[in-house]
């Protein structure tokens, strides 16, 4: 490798200096002249008709700006994929956090009391809170049948498979809601003037989603809506769709007040009212031969979408495509549906449906191993997808991935075999039971199926007056390293130092729509476009005669300065072109689901203390093939951070629901891992490359969320001899499971662990 290469090196994070000195400007750090503060009056009931709104005593209401649905200039909806979610409820409410009124006042301390003083009378309607209630349709709360979306994947012929099977293995698996818990709460500032229209500044992932939502809400043309991303303190999918709601609210208040309005949620409001990971239920029924090979199966994947459709259809899509895991299914039928309940809409969270369906697949694989009498390793060896075979959507694996080798490397790194043997011996005595668990999985990078074609992303690279280069994208930085990695790519493409590339602030007035910053698509898809736009800048300079091929950095700077001086701003644009030979059938849900998959093997080592029933993860090996690693330090940071969130998802983070409302919306009672809860997380990479990504990159951000839950629950079963099939798995769940097992078979239970 050329030692001067920038890609593959851990260059300094672009905005790192500002972050470690506290200079970075997040939305709550920003103050505008005459700015006032906004707050939201929400429904207090899960479902009903609004009968009357009264403004109670003790509040100087004439000092407040009050906005209701009647003040909306355009369409009362938060335009996303569909338009079913209102910006403000006018007649009916469908979940307990639904916004109804907005208030603003120059003194933010007066707002909580004013919000509490608004009395809303309702006619209560029966509500539904579980997927099962939604499926039974005792109440229809959305559309004709409570169903937001269904998908069906069919491959091969299942008829005859059940008769041929030596084993039929069934299981049902469940995952709970999970809060993204970025440390910076959601927030927006909006300002309006008749000439320029609306400007919003905020904490967000997708500037053009908000742009679209505000155009519809205010009935304004594109050029009258401007969205600017401030430094964003974590997102993880949680700032994909809900910021459009907050931006809409701030905008309505700003228009009515004639002043800039800031809305920043406190932690409680952020946790209870904004989106979470979709709860899921997956049923597997699998036909298996005596040799442990899967002959075929049925998978039924259901997610709870909450009260409005929002992103559920796309979460469902990613979930169903990943439901078969990294295994070869000669035949399979996978049904998926997203159903409505009277809870706030669930949304994007790192992994986007895949952690849910892969949890089920990987727990089920251990169950198949038990049924057949093979080890968890052997059952996977025999069923792994191989190059040339087809996935459940009949996508042919074209890259030379060797999953047997990948798993074996992971096992070796974790000391799996030796530990498993020694734990089996140790576990016969004592109250601390130890176990090893594995998860093998894949994660598709970029939008699903034809998604990237519809997005048709555009990026720009600008040669600046001072001879430096600026990347123009709406792709946002929220910790994952967008600014750094895209700068590396541009610098590498142009053969310039990393320092001579800067990133434009995502501002819809300045940057083109490079698509949303989601779906592990930024380094791979947007990066590839940055590479080509950057090359365009060099080409322009060369063809204008100002620069020779094989130029030096100084020559580039001089040529760029001259070009801008003579011809004005130098911009090169690059638009996404679908790679040749990629075929996806949206109707049959068949074809090339993703341009590339990342592959991974995660291995967890756990101890369960039978006095407290708490699980500690003692060691964690995360081995993945992610194409080319563009920035080793950032990549490792992404993996460790994702594994930590996965450990939270597995063992700590439980949303307690009551009548559609989250009851534990505080960091005091919704528990995420601290630095003393986590094991050393050992990160290993394989790098096969990827023809579709910038310099061989694949997506990386979401992948690490998929593996921890099944690896940890498989390890718990290895330790206790009792299996658990839903996450989060809390000590009380283990206690209950052990008690049940003890009652069913007192002798068997004491052999693995004495109950106290």
């Amino acid at each position: 490798m050329n030692p001067d290469r920038i890609v593959g090196k851990s260059v300094p994070r672009k905005e790192g200096g500002d972050k470690v000195t506290g200079k970075s400007q997040y939305v709550d750090d920003m103050v505008l002249p005459n700015m006032i503060f906004g707050a939201t009056v929400r429904s207090q009931i899960p479902r009903g008709r609004i009968k009357r709104i009264t403004f109670g005593p003790g509040v100087a209401w004439d000092e407040f700006v009050v906005v209701s649905a009647k003040d909306i200039p355009g369409k009362n909806c938060i335009a996303l994929i569909g338009e079913d979610q209102p910006c403000l409820a006018s007649d009916f409410v469908n979940h307990p956090e639904e916004p109804i009124l907005l208030l603003a006042h120059p003194d933010r301390h007066l707002l909580p009391k004013a919000v509490a003083a608004v009395a809303i009378e309702y006619e209560l309607l029966p509500a539904i809170f579980t997927m099962e209630e939604s499926e039974h349709r005792s109440q229809i709360i959305w559309g004709k049948d409570n169903i937001f979306k269904t998908f069906l994947i069919e491959k091969g012929d299942l008829a005859g498979v059940w008769e041929k099977a030596d084993f039929i293995v069934e299981g049902e698996y469940a995952t709970g809601a999970q809060e993204q818990l970025y440390i910076e709460n959601n927030g927006m500032i909006a300002a309006f003037d008749a000439a320029r229209g609306i400007t919003v500044w905020g904490s967000l992932q997708c500037p053009y989603y908000i742009h679209k939502a505000l155009m519809a809400l205010c009935n304004l043309p594109a050029e009258k809506v401007r969205v600017v991303q401030m430094e964003t303190g974590g997102a993880f999918g949680g700032k994909e769709d809900y910021p459009s709601m907050i931006a809409a609210h701030a905008t309505l208040l700003a228009i009515k007040a004639g002043k800039p309005v800031k809305i920043v949620y406190d932690r409680l409001e952020d946790m209870v009212a904004t989106t979470k990971r979709h709860p899921s239920r997956t049923r597997h029924r699998t036909a298996v031969g005596r040799d442990g090979k899967i002959l075929g199966g049925e998978i039924d994947f259901t997610i709870d979408g909450g009260a409005y459709a929002t992103l559920s259809s796309v979460v469902l899509s990613r979930g169903i495509i990943h439901a078969g895991g990294p295994y070869y299914w000669p035949s399979v039928r996978i049904r998926a549906k997203a159903v409505a309940t009277n809870a706030p809409p669930h949304g994007a969270f790192r992994g986007f449906g895949a952690p849910q369906s892969l949890f089920a697949m990987e727990r089920h694989m251990d169950r198949i191993a038990q049924a057949v009498g093979l080890s968890p390793v052997e059952i996977r060896h025999r069923n792994f997808l191989q190059p040339g075979q087809e996935t459940t959507t009949q996508q042919v694996i074209r890259e030379p991935i060797d999953l047997v080798k990948l798993l074996d490397r992971g096992l070796e790194a974790s000391g799996y075999h030796a530990k498993k043997q020694s734990f089996a011996k140790q576990n016969q005595l004592g109250t601390h039971k130890r176990g090893m668990g594995i998860a093998a999985f894949l994660h598709g990078a970029g939008f699903t199926g034809s998604g990237e074609r519809y997005l048709s992303s555009v990026v720009g690279v600008e040669g600046c007056a001072d001879g430096s280069v600026r990347v123009l994208v709406s792709s946002t930085e929220f910790g994952q390293g967008t600014k750094t990695v895209l700068s590396q790519i541009a610098a590498e493409a142009l053969g310039l130092p990393y320092e001579s590339v800067s990133m434009a602030q995502p501002d819809t007035l300045e940057v083109p729509n490079s698509g949303p910053t989601v779906a592990s698509r930024t380094a791979m898809v947007v990066g590839k476009l940055v590479q080509s736009a950057a090359l365009g800048v060099a080409q322009t300079l060369i063809s204008s005669g100002l620069l020779r091929a094989g130029y030096s950095a100084d020559e580039f700077r001089a040529a760029c300065q001259k070009h801008v001086a003579e011809h004005g701003p130098l911009h090169c644009w690059s638009r996404y072109e679908p790679p040749a030979g990629i075929f996806w059938d949206d109707q049959a849900y068949r074809g090339e689901a993703y341009a590339a998959f990342a592959w991974a093997v995660y291995i967890a080592e756990v101890t369960i203390d039978l006095t407290t029933f708490s699980v500690s993860v003692d060691d964690f090996v995360a081995l993945q093939e992610v194409g080319k690693v563009l920035h080793p330090l950032l990549a490792r940071g992404q993996i460790i951070g994702g594994v930590a969130q996965g450990i939270g998802f597995s063992l700590y983070e439980k949303v307690v629901w009551q009548n559609g409302r989250m009851q534990n919306g505080q960091m005091t009672n919704y528990i995420m891992p601290t630095s003393s809860d986590l094991p050393p997380i050992r990160v290993l990479f394989e790098e096969l490359g990827n023809v579709h990504g910038a310099y061989g990159a694949k997506g990386i951000g979401e992948l690490p969320m998929d593996g921890p839950a099944p690896a940890i629950l498989n390890a718990v079963e290895d330790a206790l001899g009792v299996g658990f099939d839903s996450v989060p798995l809390l000590p009380e769940d283990i206690m209950e499971g052990m008690d049940k097992r003890f009652l069913a078979d007192p002798a068997g239970a004491t052999s693995t662990g004495e109950r106290r």
Partner: protein, 173 residues
């Protein structure tokens, strides 16, 4: 957030980042709000408002406190240090430099509090073990990093600091 104005404003004096400051504030106003809104020191962040996340951490008379839980009247007469005081001009503090190099900052929102918590730890425990670092930072939540690269940054800073001190000792000797 409840209205802190149940008592009249009072004059308070304290030292912030080495500068004597006089302010007029409601006694129950949160130190965090006074720092951010009155003094323009926005490096301290509000993550939870109830002392769980530590992103509002500052040093008060050398102790690490959650400034969201400190009524400003309690800060009267104290010395406060915020993230804004750590670097010397353009020269980063050894912890800031180590956070940059080791990947200790991702989204950056917990970073100021985390760095102050680390500075507090290293003051009392100049040669911490990895366990002591994990324990010492456990009052500061980070959702991005999974902590490993933060812990490595603190260990690296400790090594460098000791190296510097040793050098200085050698020079004086």
């Amino acid at each position: 957030m409840t209205d802190p104005r149940n008592a009249p404003k009072v004059e308070l004096a304290f030292t912030v980042n080495g500068q004597p400051r006089k302010i007029c504030a409601y006694p129950m106003e949160r130190l965090l709000d006074v720092l951010r809104l009155e003094l323009g020191l926005t490096g301290a962040k509000e993550g939870c408002g109830e002392g769980e996340c530590g992103s509002c951490s500052v040093l008060m008379n050398g102790a690490l406190v959650n400034s969201c839980l400190v009524p400003v009247s309690q800060a009267a007469g104290t010395e406060i240090v915020t993230i804004e005081d750590l670097a010397e001009g353009e020269t980063l503090h050894v912890l800031q430099q180590a956070f940059l190099e080791c990947g200790g900052a991702q989204c950056g929102i917990c970073t100021p509090g985390m760095i102050l918590a680390a500075a507090h730890l290293l003051k009392g425990t100049p040669e911490p073990t990895m366990e002591e670092i994990r324990e010492g930072l456990s009052g500061n939540l980070c959702r991005c990093t999974g902590y490993s690269q933060i812990i490595e940054a603190v260990a690296e800073a400790a090594r460098r600091r000791l190296g510097q001190d040793h050098d200085r000792m050698r020079t004086t000797a």
